[in-house]
Symmetry: C2
Subunit: 367 residues, 2 copies
């Protein structure tokens, strides 16, 4: 049986196959630059290179998809600037992992953990602080390498500029969303909101999802590619399609964080519970008003480690409260919204199929 996300998956794989050699080449040049400064910068780029390669490349793929929808035909030319969003994404994850105190990312150590271990091995004092400092700085490197990729690509200056303006605007807004997310996490353990405030909470959660994930995962890369192709009139529709995609992405992310498979997730299952994150699952459990289940949830949130038994308990809680089902339902709502927008984006059946397939792909991400 061919899955509905198959077409998008092939498109993504094709992108990755073409983009990776360019990514490797860019890093090669950068490492030569870094070598002039010192060994540690090269070491740091080696880590960043590895982390970058391990990404899903959805955002980069979306830049090429947006380019295609804008009528762009130079498939090779769009590859290099498309990597800008992958670099940015990898960099912001490094900062994110510091805030979330995660140890695992994309199947390898998070940057601050990696460099703390590096310090231990090379007898640098205060390894934790060294790891933190290195990770903060390496992400900053990633931001500016991302700009290099975009601005040095071979597109007309006014198009690169327009794309750059969008990028700067979206990412500033993303950081505002990130700030909300920080308060959200840190305030949940002690302040589990009352079910009465649930409606307000859903709005708040979806707002965080929008600014922190959906816009820059879905809308932004599509729009960047579209702009680089010289497109103008479909930006709003692209924004809305991308937003629907991004919302599904985040909802599925929350589901996978509990119901997914460790080896495919690339980060520890249940880490959302450790960080007491206000995920969509937690929200729907709150909304259920089931005091007994709520109390059991409270016991799990903010624990230092989540055992397999804890994880099973959490799954049970989210199933019993219908939180799991409701979250899936919400993703279906966004699927419908996304599907409805597609005719505005293209009248070509193959493009439409591809756009549909991407919505299914993100929905079907492996559990």
């Amino acid at each position: 049986m061919i899955k509905k996300g198959q077409l998008a998956w092939e498109y993504l794989e094709n992108y990755r196959r073409q983009a990776l050699p360019l990514l490797d080449e860019f890093f090669h040049t950068q490492k030569e630059e870094a070598k002039k400064v010192g060994k540690l910068p090269v070491e740091s780029l080696n880590y960043f290179h590895d982390l970058c390669r391990r990404g899903k490349f959805i955002r980069g793929t979306f830049i090429t998809l947006g380019y295609r929808l804008g009528g762009g035909t130079e498939k090779k030319k769009i590859l290099l600037p498309s990597l800008a969003i992958e670099f940015f994404h990898t960099a912001i994850l490094i900062h994110d992992d510091i805030m979330d105190e995660d140890n695992l990312r994309r199947g390898i150590k998070t940057a601050h953990t990696y460099f703390a271990d590096y310090a231990r091995k090379t007898k640098i004092p205060r390894p934790e602080h060294f790891g933190l400092s290195q990770a903060i700085t390496l992400a900053d490197t990633g931001f500016y390498l991302s700009w290099q990729l975009l601005l040095e690509s071979s597109f007309p200056p006014y198009l690169k500029l327009k794309a750059g303006q969008e990028l700067a605007k979206y990412i500033s807004r993303l950081t505002y969303g990130q700030m909300l997310d920080i308060t959200n996490e840190t305030s949940l353990t002690t302040n589990l909101p009352e079910p009465a405030a649930a409606g307000e909470t859903l709005k708040r959660i979806l707002k965080i999802f929008r600014y922190k994930t959906a816009e820059y995962t879905g809308s932004l890369p599509l729009i960047l590619g579209y702009i680089l192709a010289g497109g103008e009139e479909k930006i709003e529709a692209l924004y809305n399609y991308g937003l629907a995609f991004g919302w599904i992405f985040q909802i599925v992310d929350d589901l996978l964080g509990i119901f997914g498979q460790q080896e495919k997730l690339g980060k520890p299952l249940g880490s959302d519970l450790v960080q007491a994150k206000k995920t969509i699952l937690v929200y729907y459990l709150l909304e259920s008003g089931r005091q007994d289940l709520l109390n059991q949830l409270r016991e799990l949130l903010g624990k230092e480690t989540i055992t397999p038994v804890d994880l099973e308990k959490a799954k049970q809680l989210f199933q019993d409260s219908a939180a799991y089902a409701k979250a899936q339902q919400l993703s279906q709502t966004y699927l419908q919204k996304g599907l409805e927008i597609i005719p505005q984006l293209s009248s070509h059946p193959t493009d439409q199929d591809l756009l549909k397939s991407f919505l299914y792909l993100v929905l079907e991400r492996e559990k």
Copy 2:
């Protein structure tokens, strides 16, 4: 008696007077944007706005100076993009202060300290971690607002693009320098190098100074302004003049960190000792080979707090070892280098006077 830096000082003050209203206006617009996301982003921008305003504005001034040297005449138009470097600078200082664990910056609390206190006041759990997370994110905001300022300014796309490419390249390199600096600090307390390795160490210190401070304080802003004016042929000379300026800037910074005045410094005196930074003073004390003084220095490096008595002791050590005199001598060497380049930059006596005056200004920074 008119100081030799007087002319530059007036130029700087004039810049600040004209730029501040634009800075305020930009923040006003941004806060409206941030308000749509939430209260905390606005709160964060309020802090960033304040911190930004308290800067010395040397880098922003240098953009207008570079613009002038490139023949640019639209003095109003250059103001907005010139603030891009001030935003970047303020942002990178926020990350820097996390790494240095400083509490005071430009006379107010550092970002991570400010937000940790904010968390305590508003009963957000784990205030230190909240402060860290907020500070990391706020600096990221600053980076992207900086890009907005540059890319949205009203210069021709190809010039903004060329400036943007330079900016991205220089800042990537700056982060490599920052990485070296991190190792440098963390390795000094336990590993005070032997005097034999002193020559190697000076080269290393000057390299860190170059990438971490000199290039982006002196060369980069001059070149950015020059590019925006459409200039091309003087980039190398600007680079060299800026580098000389930047080196003096960092040497004087190291001197002021010990010999300066608390209220004018905006950060605690002696904090370089607390962080065991390999400053130029420490280097020259090492180079002196005076084992007795070295041992006394070891006692001060890495102390949790530096008392006024410690500070006096440090001053004495740096004077007795001639480190203070040698550092001043080194800054004089760079002054000469800077002065020699000036004729390549302009044949106008007023421009030449201004360029001279800036070298003296940075040398005369108040102790």
